[in-house]
């Protein structure tokens, strides 16, 4: 699904420098991984790189494969071909954001249905089904502002799965929730992902929660370099 080799992304300079260096990362279809590590160690940066919304400075290999095709993401970035990148995102990717990332001017139903509409898929009842499975069916006609944080997270999960993507990325989907709700949302998300055979990479700082949910754990670590900057890497490659 995703194959990365020697990827590097640097932000800032001197003591403000933050570098992410990934020697190797493979994510196969249907695989469910947790990306754990302390705050500020580059989990979100890695997710943005994998979501093809952040351009890497360098990558020896960055390939996204779907059933029939393989795409050289690195080359697309180098050529600044934004439209094929956008097409890859809308067709193959679901992304759950930490704060939900819902569009405030749409109601819950339209937020969930949007990725399907973008692909020209009609309403086959999947929006209603997902809402029922994620226990937000009674919130469908509300605007996101009227929902609790936990409900917004579930709407965000539903939106990320609505168009049956092959890869689900989630950035701290339970960080703002109390432990009971966090576990509940994580279970609901993984159950739906599993049912749809979706590959998952879920960033969380809560390793216990990740292990309890049955996820393989990828740990990120940071080190302070001689110039005062920080370099983040994956501790153990799967």
């Amino acid at each position: 699904m995703i194959s990365l080799q020697a990827l590097r992304k640097t932000r800032g300079l001197g003591t403000q420098r933050f570098s992410l260096e990934i020697e190797r990362l493979e994510l196969r279809a249907g695989q469910q991984l947790a990306l754990v590590g302390p705050s500020g160690c580059g989990k979100s940066t890695l997710l943005d790189l994998l979501a093809m919304v952040l351009q890497p400075d360098h990558a020896q290999q960055f390939v996204f494969s779907s059933d029939s095709q393989a795409f050289d993401v690195c080359q697309l970035w180098q050529d600044q071909r934004q439209d094929p990148l956008a097409q890859l995102r809308r067709r193959h990717l679901g992304y759950v954001l930490q704060a939900g990332g819902l569009l405030g001017f749409l109601d819950v139903r339209s937020n969930i249905a949007l990725p399907r509409q973008v692909l020209g898929l009609g309403d086959d009842g999947s929006v209603q089904r997902l809402a029922e499975q994620l226990e937000i069916a009674d919130q469908l006609d509300k605007k996101p502002a009227a929902l609790s944080i936990g409900q917004r997270q579930r709407v965000s999960c539903a939106r990320a799965l609505a168009h049956n993507p092959e890869l689900l990325l989630a950035d701290e989907p339970t960080a703002a929730l109390d432990p009971v709700n966090a576990e509940r949302v994580m279970q609901l998300l993984l159950r739906q992902a599993q049912a749809r055979q979706v590959a998952c990479l879920i960033a969380t700082h809560d390793e216990t929660l990740a292990r309890a949910a049955g996820l393989q754990v990828l740990r990120m670590v940071c080190r302070r370099d001689a110039d005062g900057g920080v370099t983040a890497t994956l501790e153990r490659q799967p």
Binding site: A51, V53, D83, Y95, L106, S110, P115, V118
Partner: protein, 401 residues
């Protein structure tokens, strides 16, 4: 472009969600459009009323030869054939073109001038035109003095002095119609040229066989020369070229060219003033829409980032911003037109002088052009201001929503 209807629907939902800000952008545009419509309406209404007033009055298009001339019937016929001439007919000598009329029942004698007429005479518009030598149309003042009306028979007397003797010939003339006062304000009859030629021949001592009047018989009609003619230009704009045509042939003519030029100059000056004000106002509106689009992109940065994350292309996001500007433009054009309609009705009630004339007036095509101009300017300004959308990275704002 990906799914234009979806983008239009999303833009509309966001536009509605931001109702207050949307209303502000609509009002900002209305503040430019409504005064411009009123200004153009006044310019168009005043100028067209003045122009129509001039065009309604055929006298304004009349070209009157001055001094004595000698024009052949062929020359006048050639003039009548010109594209810029609506009507041309020879005139006989004015001194010979008079008649004494009496309505037998009233016995009041009125001396009238005789004016030749024919088909397409601009003064006789809508009236029956005399075609036989015994048919006439009377001016309103003459008809009132005589107490005559259409259908009456009048006795006409033509006098001459020959060899010291006063001689008179009488003829019966039938009144076909009476002219409205504004068409001709003196005592006159309008008759076929043949009757005027007959009166002139008789007064020159020649015989008029058609009416049985005796006199000399050795002068042929082919040699007749006319001292003047009645000529009307087809349009106001044809008057000045015709004046130049006669001036080039050393023929002095009197026209209403200065009055026409005055209206045309007023139209030109008002047009210039309008376009200067319109250009300044449109430049201001363009800058305002541009700034508003720029601000909208900044304000909606998070939403636009999420949309980019969901796979919306740059063109789709730009269309999202431009469409919202177009929604504002459509509403502003509608409200502007409604406000103009109110202003137009008030201005016309205040300043209208004659029925059918307007102080302020716009044609449907003007509304259409205004709508297209507003849409075009808004789309261009929003595209310019919204271009910043191309530089929005999805990762830029998604952490905040």
């Amino acid at each position: 472009m990906m799914r234009p209807l979806l983008i239009a629907a999303l833009a509309w939902q966001d536009y509605r969600n931001d109702a207050r800000l949307s209303a502000c952008s609509v009002l900002a545009l209305v503040a430019v459009i409504a005064p411009l419509l009123v200004l153009f309406g006044l310019k168009f209404g005043l100028v067209s009323s003045l122009t129509e007033r001039l065009e309604r009055d055929p006298m304004v298009r009349e070209i009157i030869p001055l001094g004595g001339g000698r024009f052949s019937a062929d020359f006048v016929a050639e003039l009548a054939e010109r594209d810029d001439v609506a009507f041309a007919l020879p005139r006989t000598r004015q001194i010979a073109a008079t008649a004494d009329l009496v309505l037998p029942a009233r016995k009041v004698l009125v001396n009238v001038e005789m004016i030749p007429t024919a088909l397409n005479d601009p003064l006789l518009q809508g009236l029956q035109v005399p075609s036989a030598i015994d048919q006439i149309v009377l001016s309103r003042t003459a008809a009132e003095k005589l107490g005559a009306q259409a259908g009456d028979q009048l006795d006409a007397a033509f006098t001459r002095q020959l060899a010291g003797q006063l001689q008179v010939q009488r003829s019966t003339l039938r009144v076909l119609a009476v002219l409205p006062l504004e068409a001709f304000e003196r005592d006159a009859l309008f008759a076929p040229l043949a009757l005027l030629e007959a009166a002139e021949d008789y007064r020159d001592g020649r015989a008029v066989p058609a009416l049985g009047w005796e006199g000399e018989t050795d002068v042929g009609k082919a040699h007749r020369a006319y001292p003047a003619f009645r000529l009307y230009a087809r349009n106001l704009s044809d008057v000045e070229p015709l004046r130049r045509f006669f001036a080039d042939r050393q023929l002095l003519v009197s026209t209403q060219a200065p009055a026409i030029a005055q209206v045309q100059s007023l139209s030109r000056n008002l047009t210039l003033v309008f376009w200067i004000i319109a250009a300044l106002a449109l430049a201001g509106a363009f800058a305002a829409v541009c700034a508003s689009a720029l601000a909208a992109v900044e304000r909606k940065r998070r939403e636009l980032s999420v949309m980019r994350l969901l796979g919306f292309s740059t063109a789709a996001l730009l269309a999202f911003v431009v469409l919202q500007a177009l929604y504002s433009a459509v509403f502003a054009a509608g409200i502007g037109a409604a406000l103009y309609a109110l202003a137009e009705s008030g201005l016309n009630q205040l300043f209208m002088q004659m029925p059918g004339e307007y102080a302020s007036h716009l044609l449907p095509s003007h509304y259409l052009v205004a709508l297209l101009a507003v849409l075009l300017a808004s789309a261009a300004a929003a595209a310019l201001g919204g271009w910043r959308v191309a530089r929005i990275d999805a990762c830029e704002g998604i952490r905040d929503v």
